[in-house]
Amino acid sequence: MPLFKPEHRQLLKMLHPAREEEVSDVLSGLAAFMEEKISPLSPKFDSLAEKITSARKSLLENGICLIPYPSRYGGLELPFSAYTLPGIISGKKLASFSLTEPASGSDAKAVRTKARRVGMEYVLNGTKMFITNAGEADLYFVLGATEKGPSSFIVEKSAPGLEFGEDLPKLGMRGSRTSELRLTDCRISAENLVGREGEGFEQVKTMLNSSRIVMGALCVGVAQVAYEKAVTYSKERRAFGGLISDFQLIREKIADMVTGISAARLLCLYASRLKEMGLEFSSEASQAKVFATETSVRVCDQAIQIFGGLGYTSEDVHRHWRDARLLTIGEGTSEVLRMLIASRELARSL
């Protein structure tokens, strides 16, 4: 199944009329690379038959992370989102975002990891939980509390006192390693403080605001694949003397699935366009994430239903649901995001 479709080109025409051809070229090149080199492996990542490391490396080397960044960092300066280090965006270094702790996830202000300044160093102590890429990443963005409040630090993998737990078994998203991260008198240079002490919470909020759009977009992709598989199957599977795609109840599902995907896609694009234009977008980013992630879970669930017994037993159908299921939890649960959306909307003057 081609990943870059005529409808994507139409959307680009709408969003970036002046750079449509350039952006289309880059995205269709990326799509060709994904179709050939990555997509065939994804069932193997899910079944743990193949490690994601080399595929991820080739994807990063291809330049996927360069897309939104300014050219002074080696980026492509294409219109999408922004910030980081050249080493990370060029794919030479893998980074990991380490916020969640055993006792605090959504409630980031309750961070218990402590950071103490000692001379030209900081000493970090604490435990982080459910950290994506823990043990594989070269750099860790760690939130820890100083006397001035939550602060962010870059911890290198080689830092003394940094340890990782076992790879946690997961329902989905099995290509990535997820584990605990332990900091025991972990010493890092004072230069690795990001910004100033006490700015950590705001930094994390800024990052999560943008990443929520990415999470939403990710869900649009997951839902789209599950939807296309279900549609293809419905046009092949026969029952009661006809194709199941001719049955009203299947058609209703297909109509609802695609409508949800289209709406989710547009909401993600709307939030990202607001961000690009330098406008306030946090409510829209949260809306995009809540809607796209929940739509994705529903669409993937319906895909299993259309496949019937085959959907429940075939990894290549149910893995999409298992992948999507993380996304109403990670990087802001649906519940917390609804709180954010409501409080922002209630504060707006009508």
């Binding site: 081609p2 051809e21 350039e22 070229d25 880059v26 090149g29 990326l30 060709a32 690379f33 050939e36 080199k37 080397e61 291809n62 330049g63 996927i64 360069l66 897309i67 492509l76 294409l78």
Partner: protein
């Protein structure tokens, strides 16, 4: 997207986006490797409708330096290799001096394998076909030619024309940065009428029709005990010539 066959048996290509032939990618890759090892520059030349510009850009992203697109109003008859080779030859002459022309052993769709040899005739160049390895030293090209059961080593002085087989290399994927840079590389478009200039080659081949091979099953069912039916099956396969006696 997939290829479908219409009820009349003709292929329906509407759902299949056009793209660079896989063997052509091998030729582009080899030209870029030669440029990387021996210097020089790579000019990408193709014949097609104006949407073939996408293909030229892709080859430029892989590492070509400039592109040259011979725009035809209608696609030449896919089996009329002579016209395609003729247009390419005129375009190559027009593009300026060169040392080596690389092309695919054949296209991925028609796979007639004729454009390379015909092109070498139009350009009066030595033809080294079905090549799996290329080396150039002191203006002499040395190639390994893949034959059915053996490999022949050929040498020629440059300029020459080489057609490559897929085992020669694994084509690279352009990085996103290269894709962006490719849009700044020059692509010259020239109408085929400028190249033909009243000297078009005779049209020797016209495609009358193209239909999918229709496969009909005999649907023979044998009944009886497993022993008896298996004997009947073996007998039937023998009489069909599937099994030898």
């Amino acid at each position: 997207m997939e290829l479908r066959v219409n009820a009349s048996g003709t292929p329906d290509l509407s759902g299949a986006p056009s793209k660079m032939s896989t063997f052509d990618k091998n030729a582009v890759e080899e030209s870029i490797r030669l440029k990387e090892s021996s210097g020089g520059s790579v000019t990408i030349i193709t014949v097609g409708r104006s949407d073939a510009k996408k293909t030229v850009k892709e080859a430029l992203a892989m590492g070509g330096d400039r592109g040259y697109l011979v725009v035809v109003v209608a696609e030449p008859d896919p089996h009329d290799s002579l016209t395609t080779a003729y247009l390419l030859a005129r375009a190559i002459e027009r593009a300026g001096p060169f040392d080596l022309v690389l092309c695919a052993e054949g296209s991925s769709d028609i796979y007639a394998g004729q454009v390379g040899p015909m092109l070498s005739e139009w350009l009066a160049l030595p033809f080294l076909g079905y090549v799996r390895k290329v080396e150039i030293k002191d203006r002499v090209i040395r190639c390994e030619q893949t034959l059915e059961e053996s490999v022949r080593v050929l040498e020629a002085e440059l300029p020459a024309l080489v057609s490559v087989v897929s085992e020669i290399n694994e084509p690279r994927y352009p990085t996103l940065l290269q894709i962006m840079q490719a849009s700044k590389k020059p692509i010259e478009e020239v109408g085929s009428e400028l190249l033909i200039d009243g000297r078009a080659p005779p049209r020797l081949v016209t495609t009358v029709g193209m239909t999918a091979h229709a496969m009909s099953r005999k649907r023979v069912i044998f009944e009886g005990s497993p022993e008896a039916t298996s004997r009947k099956l073996v007998e039937a396969l023998r009489s069909e010539g599937v099994l030898k006696r």
